[in-house]
């Protein structure tokens, strides 16, 4: 029965999303009685659609939890022996379920738009656009990726879930990332609505959604990279894999959007540019979904090998992006131009921020899509890949330049700033940068110019953030949001520099009782034991961390075999001091009790994710401030000075 219930709920949701699209767009008209009725219908149908999508999703979760193998999706991706948590997270560990999760998040955002703001033309038009998006994705699910298809006869046991996905880090990575990807749809809808209605103030209305999306994207990317770090066993945290890039690009544009929308809201600058960024951010989310889900990339994420799915998503993307850009081309010239500002001003700083962010995104975009384009153009004869050196030479310098300029932004005044006064105010931050340089030169070996520069910039960023904190002492909490987020950047930068430039590595074959050395550590190999997990059998090695002949602690890297799925994964053992990670991975059995062990010492590795957390907290602070004073305040009277 579950399958039919879910199917029915999806059909109702589709019908309501169409009602939502039509009534929402009709409600975007002038304040006539008809339009007012349409707006009420749009709000009500949005909430209805949300309820039915939640119902459909809940049905699928129930089917996974109760192991209802009469549903093909459950039979293909679950197993009775799986721990409950992975039965639940297995819902989105496959193509069909993950698309349903996508629509669930979309409907929750639409519900929030309808619930938080009601009655205005702008909201109505935004709901109309959300309705169109929801309808398109629901059609996609019902026709190409239905998670409720039945199996007759139902098998006794399911095929299990890819063990790489049976991991806490990866279990919550997709919902986080989707909350970010799809959250950008709210900004997209508001931007399209603003173009239709020709109304100002959309940046203010969309701001909470932008912030939620950005926080979730930051968290989702950090979770994914943390997972890659401890699960893949290569000691790296970012591989410039196309799948990672697909999530980084929307983040870069969302970051640019947050800054540009701030200028639009506070001083009326960059009106059209902000609209374009909102469209671009969600477009990159859609492209990311296509890249990741269509199977054109080789990765753990590539679920869909069915070409009709790829085709459908591609048409959907073309319609959404093409439609939005056409609307932009048609309507943007009729909008009020951006307010003017001085060459030295907060606006100029934000403009530079946008130039660098969009530039770095362009570098990632070319590196990610060029191999695919070449493959398609050469009919599969020329397969190339673009590796980390490309990004180190394009993305890194652009981003570095951006970081160098970050402290000036909050320091300069709106419309007209004073560069000399700002530089003077920031002077103590240069002091902290100098301290960082001295510390790096004293502690780190070998010496590295890039590393020293990175720490100088990190000191500069954090120092400026501290100054910003002090300047705003006593202000309301949200005033500290920018300082916190910028300080987070500095923390992450230290982590990235530390691990990338000063990591030590050892690769040894050791027998029981033998020792190996990595960085300052001595490890004694104590042999392996077999351990039985809930749905896996693990070969667990034990290594003792020695200090002056005494055992300090024991580390247990392992290899797991999942019999249901017939697969093996490696689980690393990591011991962190907060400042340095000791990282062990168990390699191959070399006979006679001897095993290959790979060990890394990564200085400051935890800072990478700590910084991301601090950034996300900065975003959360800003969001909190927004939600607390959600009452509509009048737009600052800005006269376009043309």
């Amino acid at each position: 029965m579950l399958g039919e219930l879910g199917q029915l709920a999806l059909c109702f949701a589709l019908a309501l999303s169409l009602v939502m699209a039509i009534s929402g767009l009709l409600g975007a008209g002038a304040d006539q009685p008809n339009a007012l009725v349409a707006r009420r219908i749009a709000s009500a149908s949005t909430l209805g659609m949300m309820v039915f999508v939640v119902l459909a999703f809940g049905t699928l979760v129930t089917a996974f939890v109760t192991s209802d193998f009469s549903i093909a999706d459950v039979a293909n991706n679950s197993h009775t022996l799986k721990p409950l948590i992975y039965k639940i997270t297995g819902v989105w560990g496959n193509h069909e379920g993950s698309m349903l999760l996508w629509v669930l998040v979309l409907s929750l955002y639409a519900g929030a738009v309808a619930g938080l703001q009601r009655g205005e033309r702008l909201t109505s038009a935004a709901l109309g656009v959300q309705g169109l998006l929801a309808a398109a994705f629901l059609l996609f699910i019902l026709f190409t990726s239905n998670p409720f298809l039945r199996l007759d006869p139902a098998p006794f046991e399911g095929a299990g879930l890819n063990p790489l996905l049976q991991d806490p880090g990866l279990a919550f990575h997709p919902p986080m990332l989707y909350a970010g990807y799809v959250g950008l749809s709210a900004s997209f809808s508001y931007a399209a609505a603003a173009l239709m209605v020709g109304e100002d103030g959309w940046a203010r209305a969309a701001r909470p959604f932008m912030l939620v999306a950005w926080i979730a994207l930051t968290g989702g990317i950090a979770l994914g990279s943390w997972w890659a770090y401890y699960e893949l066993g290569w000691g790296g945290f970012w591989f410039w894999d196309p799948v990672e890039n697909a999530s980084l690009m929307p983040w870069l544009i969302a970051t640019a959007l947050l800054h540009s929308a701030l200028a639009t809201e506070k001083s009326g600058a960059f009106r059209t540019w902000t609209l374009l960024l909102a469209i671009g951010g969600f477009s990159l989310s859609l492209i990311g979904t296509f890249l990741v889900r269509s199977g054109v990339l080789s990765s753990v994420h590539a679920f869909a090998s069915d070409p009709t799915r790829g085709f459908f998503i591609m048409m959907l993307i073309l319609c959404a992006i093409g439609g939005a850009l056409a609307l932009f081309a048609w309507r943007a010239p009729t909008l009020k131009g951006g307010a003017s500002f001085d060459t030295v001003s907060r606006e100029s700083a934000l403009l530079l921020n946008n130039v660098f962010l969009v530039g770095s995104c362009a570098a990632v975009f070319v590196g990610t899509l060029y191999p695919l384009a070449l493959d398609a153009l050469s009919h599969g004869q020329q397969k190339i890949s673009v590796g980390p050196p490309y990004y180190a030479l394009t993305f890194a310098p652009i981003f570095f330049a951006l970081l160098l300029l970050v402290p000036f932004g909050p320091e300069l005044g709106w419309r007209r700033g004073n560069l000399k006064a700002s530089a003077r105010a920031l002077a103590p931050a240069i002091g902290l940068a100098a301290v960082a340089v001295v510390a790096v030169l004293a502690i780190a070996s070998p010496r590295s110019l890039t590393g020293t520069l990175a720490f100088a910039v990190a000191g500069w960023l954090i120092g400026a953030a501290i100054l910003d904190f002090r300047k705003r002492k006593g202000a309301r909490a949200s005033a500290f949001a920018a300082a916190l987020a910028h300080a987070g950047l500095g923390v992450t930068l230290m982590g990235v520099a530390g691990t990338s430039l000063w990591r030590s590595e050892a690769l040894d074959v050791v027998g029981p009782g033998e020792t190996m050395h990595v960085g300052p550590y001595t490890l004694r190999f104590d042999g392996v034991t077999q351990v039985q997990g809930p749905n896996f059998q693990a070969t667990q090695a034990q290594l003792a961390l020695m200090e002056k002949g005494r055992v300090v602690t024991l580390l247990r890297p392992e290899k797991r075999v999942y019999p249901a799925e017939g697969q093996e994964t490696a689980d690393t053992a990591i011991r962190t001091t907060g400042l340095r990670d000791l990282y062990l991975a168990l390699g191959d059995d070399r006979g006679n009790g001897r095993w290959t062990i790979r060990a890394y010492v990564s200085p400051l590795a935890p800072f990478i994710w700590l910084g991301a957390l601090v950034m996300a907290m900065g975003g959360a602070l800003s969001l909190w401030g927004r939600l607390r004073v959600r009452l509509p305040t009048p737009e600052p009277a800005v006269q376009p000075a043309e």
Binding site: I384, S385, P389, L393, T394, D508, G566, Q567
Partner: protein, 146 residues
């Protein structure tokens, strides 16, 4: 006003220059940093010089995996038509098996052995690296449903 206009002009010029530098850097670095993918058959016809980094993929030949001193490992990959010996110093991925698809990154030595710096295997039993599938199809050794 004139002063302001001039500053604005400099600002715009700087932006355009930065964009130009960026575009040049992207095109230039892209030309220098792409890795081509070759199957063993491609390698026989393309004459890739030693030391040039590229990626190679195919199936690990049965009974070809030999461990040397330390973490050294040697094996051969095949696309059914040709074979290439590979040498690797490192930990093989968990899903590395004889008869399964792998993709290795590295460069040829003068003796024709591929010196791999990285070896990737498939992620699960349903999945085969797309490059390997394409290479097997080209050499006519691909059976649907394999």
């Amino acid at each position: 006003m004139n002063m302001k206009k001039r500053r604005r002009l400099y600002f715009a010029a700087a932006l355009v220059a930065a964009g130009g530098v960026l575009a040049t850097a992207i095109v230039y670095e892209l030309g220098n940093n792409v890795l081509y993918f070759y199957s063993p058959s491609d390698l026989a016809t393309k004459h890739v010089g030693p030391g040039v980094a590229f990626r190679i993929g195919g199936l690990v030949e049965k009974a070809s995996v030999h461990h040397g001193a330390g973490a050294d490992v040697r094996f051969t990959v095949t696309d059914g038509a040709r074979v290439v010996p590979i040498e690797f110093n490192g930990v093989l991925p968990a899903l590395f098996r004889e008869g399964q698809g792998v993709v290795a990154t590295g460069a040829l030595r003068p003796d024709g052995t591929f010196d791999a710096s990285e070896v990737l295997a498939k992620h699960d039993e349903k999945y085969m690296p797309p490059e390997v599938v394409a290479a097997l199809k080209r050499s006519g050794r691909w059976k649907e449903g394999e």
